[in-house]
């Protein structure tokens, strides 16, 4: 049963990954990217890494891909001019691709397999014992509570920093202030003055 799903997910993932770079319309590209992420999620679930799968779904589909979509729709980039140098840059792209492929092949050749080959393997939780979301939860709030809190503070600083650098207090902005509107009365908004004829106020 398992191999069927594995082939299903991988074939769709590879197909949609190719479609990401070949399709003409950038919006379609992003949708194919989302499809790729979904299928990778399926592959992770098959491997028993359900936490990673959900993380991929939430972070990449929920945030990154939507951000891409926003960027594409907001910025109105002229994509036909970007494609113009396709033939010219193809050799360079192929070269980089070949180098990356070579690195993957060499690292597979040089790799030693098996859990005993990994340094510090006694740290690993036994696979069947406990599902990995629970395993992560167990260590994050006990062993690594100090690090977890520090990471939270870093995110807080990042948020404050972004506000400090981008927030500008603009002068002369006319905002509606409901309290002020309802509290005003006749005495401080209307001035009745006697105007003498032929003199003006």
């Amino acid at each position: 049963m398992l191999p069927v799903f594995f082939y299903l997910f991988s074939i769709i993932a590879i197909f949609s990954a190719i479609m990401v770079i070949t399709t003409k319309n950038p919006v379609h590209s992003v949708f194919f990217l989302i499809l790729t992420f979904f299928n990778s999620t399926g592959l992770f679930v098959l491997m028993g890494a359900e936490f990673l799968a959900m993380l991929l779904l939430v972070v990449y589909v929920g945030a990154v891909a939507v951000l891409f979509l926003f960027v594409i729709m907001m910025l109105n980039i002229d994509f036909s001019s970007l494609r113009a140098g396709m033939i010219k840059n193809a050799p360079l792209g192929l070269l980089i691709g070949a180098v990356l492929l070579g690195e993957i092949i060499f690292s597979f050749i040089g790799m030693k397999y098996g859990i005993s080959e990994i340094p510090g393997n006694e740290l690993f939780v036994k696979l069947s014992e406990i599902e990995n979301t629970r395993a992560l939860g167990n260590v994050i709030y006990t062993d690594y509570i100090y690090l977890f809190q520090c990471a939270g503070l870093i995110l807080l600083v990042a948020m404050i920093g972004a506000i400090v650098l981008t927030h500008r207090r603009r002068e002369n902005v006319k905002k509606q202030d409901a309290v002020k509107q309802t509290l005003r009365d006749k005495s401080d908004s209307i001035e009745v003055s006697k105007v003498e004829i032929g003199k003006g106020v």
């Binding site: 006990t142 520090c150 807080l156 404050i160």
Partner: protein, 486 residues
């Protein structure tokens, strides 16, 4: 597995916990009580100074014995407590002296003290780290706050440039650090300093990969310390950042990074010290010379002090490269004296203001000895000390570094270092010459706060009279540096 941290764990991190809670109170307080209004700024400064004093209180009242906590992620001992106290003390002083500058430059944002407090928290985490992961998180917490502070003057192009430069290069250095740590983890299977020090690193089997990872880790810390050849960002960032932030950059993060470097070199990598001894030595000598020659032609006092910081940290590297107790002691003495004299010099720079414009060019200090003799005398003492003139504190600090170098048998290194020191004396003396011998067309009277005058006076008095109690301080440094040498 499900056991929670016990009470003694919490007491190790009590200063950090207190400071982070204080920060969490600070944020809503700043937002809801007019954080950007001019008349509220001094309240926020006082509020943050009280927070730092509270942290100092919990730090000094806590247990001073060496202990590990939080599953060995956090460590504390006398050396760490001393460096943390120095950091908190320096940060309080910087907050006091930056008050006036902020009102001149319209830096009315409550995030200014808030981010300083955040970076202090990062430094405390860094200093008490016993694991590369803790160290990394502390480093990032500190750096992120500092990037924003460098760009705090939003209407100034130079400040934004400084922030961006610092951010990009800092992110690169963080990448180096993580790359080095991941290689180290791949080789040894641990990121804990104490575990690494228990013969996880066998001196007889040193692989090329291990050397590579150690070089990456040391160079990323060297970047944070602006050691040559990773110093390129320093003059631009020091010049572009608001002056009070420059003062902060030049003093406080240096203490934290030096403390971390001591812990990495003298605890984690002590068994394989033959890898890093020469590396640190060369970096130290290089920065002494880059700092000495780079400062010669500077017109702007902030750029000059950036190069001065580079060469001063170079001496500390020189001392650390000895790998023994003497080196540790003399580098501790040096960083302490460097911090105190830098506080004095930056208090002087932050007081120099004419018609609401800060004076940053050295030539504008001409004739200062006649118009403002108090400031001229204080800066004169501080600069003579930095130039290494006996019997001032700077001389004693340099003397101890070179004494340690010579005692450990590196006579040639000491001679080269002394030559660098003599070259750097030129530009310190040049400022004194401008103040005392040059005439200026327009004289001005510096009107500064009493608190700043007191700080300037106290730091120059300390530098001047250091020789009287030098023995006690050096004994104290020996005492605390024993915490790290096993």
């Amino acid at each position: 597995m499900n056991s929670v941290s016990n009470i003694s764990d919490l007491s190790i991190a009590l200063p950090e916990i207190f400071l982070s809670l204080w920060l969490l109170i600070f944020i809503p307080l700043g937002v809801y009580s007019g954080g950007n209004k001019l008349n509220r700024q001094s309240y926020f400064s006082i509020f943050s100074i009280i927070g730092l004093l509270g942290t100092l209180f919990f730090l000094l009242m806590g247990d001073h014995r060496a202990s590990l906590g939080f599953y060995d992620l956090v460590v504390t001992d006398k050396l760490i407590i001393y460096l943390k106290a120095l950091i908190l003390f320096a940060a309080i002083i910087v907050l006091i002296i930056s008050e006036r500058y902020r009102s001149i430059e319209n830096l009315y944002i409550f995030e200014y003290p808030l981010l300083i407090l955040f970076s202090i928290l990062g430094m405390l985490v860094m200093l008490s780290s016993n694991n590369f992961i803790t160290l990394y998180l502390g480093l990032e917490l500190q750096s992120l706050a500092l990037y924003v502070l460098a760009a705090a003057k939003k209407d100034s192009l130079k400040s934004s440039e400084a922030g961006l430069k610092y951010f990009i290069l800092g992110a690169l250095a963080s990448g180096f650090f993580l790359f080095g740590v991941s290689l180290l983890f791949g080789i040894t299977g641990t990121t804990s300093f104490t575990i690494l020090s228990f013969n996880y690193l066998n001196p007889n089997e040193v692989s090329l990969l291990l050397i590579f990872s150690i070089i990456l880790i040391i160079s990323s810390i060297a970047f944070k310390l602006s050691i040559a050849p990773f110093h390129m960002w320093t003059p631009d960032v020091y010049e572009g950042a608001p002056t009070s932030i420059t003062a902060y950059f030049a003093i406080v993060p240096k203490i934290a990074a030096i403390g971390v470097l001591m812990r990495i070199l003298y605890i984690a990598f002590i068994d394989i010290n033959f890898i890093w001894l020469q590396l640190v030595l060369v970096l130290g000598l290089l920065s002494i010379f880059v700092g000495a020659f780079g400062a010669l032609l500077q017109k702007n006092i902030k750029r000059l002090l950036a190069y001065s910081a580079i060469s001063n940290i170079g001496y500390i590297f020189l001392a650390l490269s000895l790998g023994n107790q003497l080196g540790l002691e003399s580098s501790l003495l040096y960083i302490t004296i460097y911090a105190i004299s830098s506080i004095g010099v930056f208090t002087f720079i932050l007081s120099m203001e004419k018609d609401n414009i800060m004076l940053e060019n050295i030539s504008s200090y001409a004739g200062l000895s006649k118009s403002n003799p108090f400031y001229a005398v204080c800066l004169g003492i501080l600069l003579l000390s930095m130039a290494g003139l006996p019997p001032l504190a700077g001389f004693i600090a340099k003397f101890y570094v070179f004494k340690a170098v010579i005692t450990s048998g590196y006579l040639l290194t000491a001679i080269i270092g002394i030559i660098g020191s003599v070259i750097s004396a030129y530009y310190y003396l040049n400022i004194i010459k401008v103040m005392y011998l040059d005439d200026s067309d327009e004289s001005f009277i510096v009107e500064s706060k009493v608190s700043m005058k007191i700080i300037l006076f106290t730091s120059s008095l300390f530098i001047l009279t250091f020789i009287i109690f030098a023995d006690n301080i050096i004994n104290f440094m020996t005492y605390i540096s024993r915490a790290i040498i096993l």
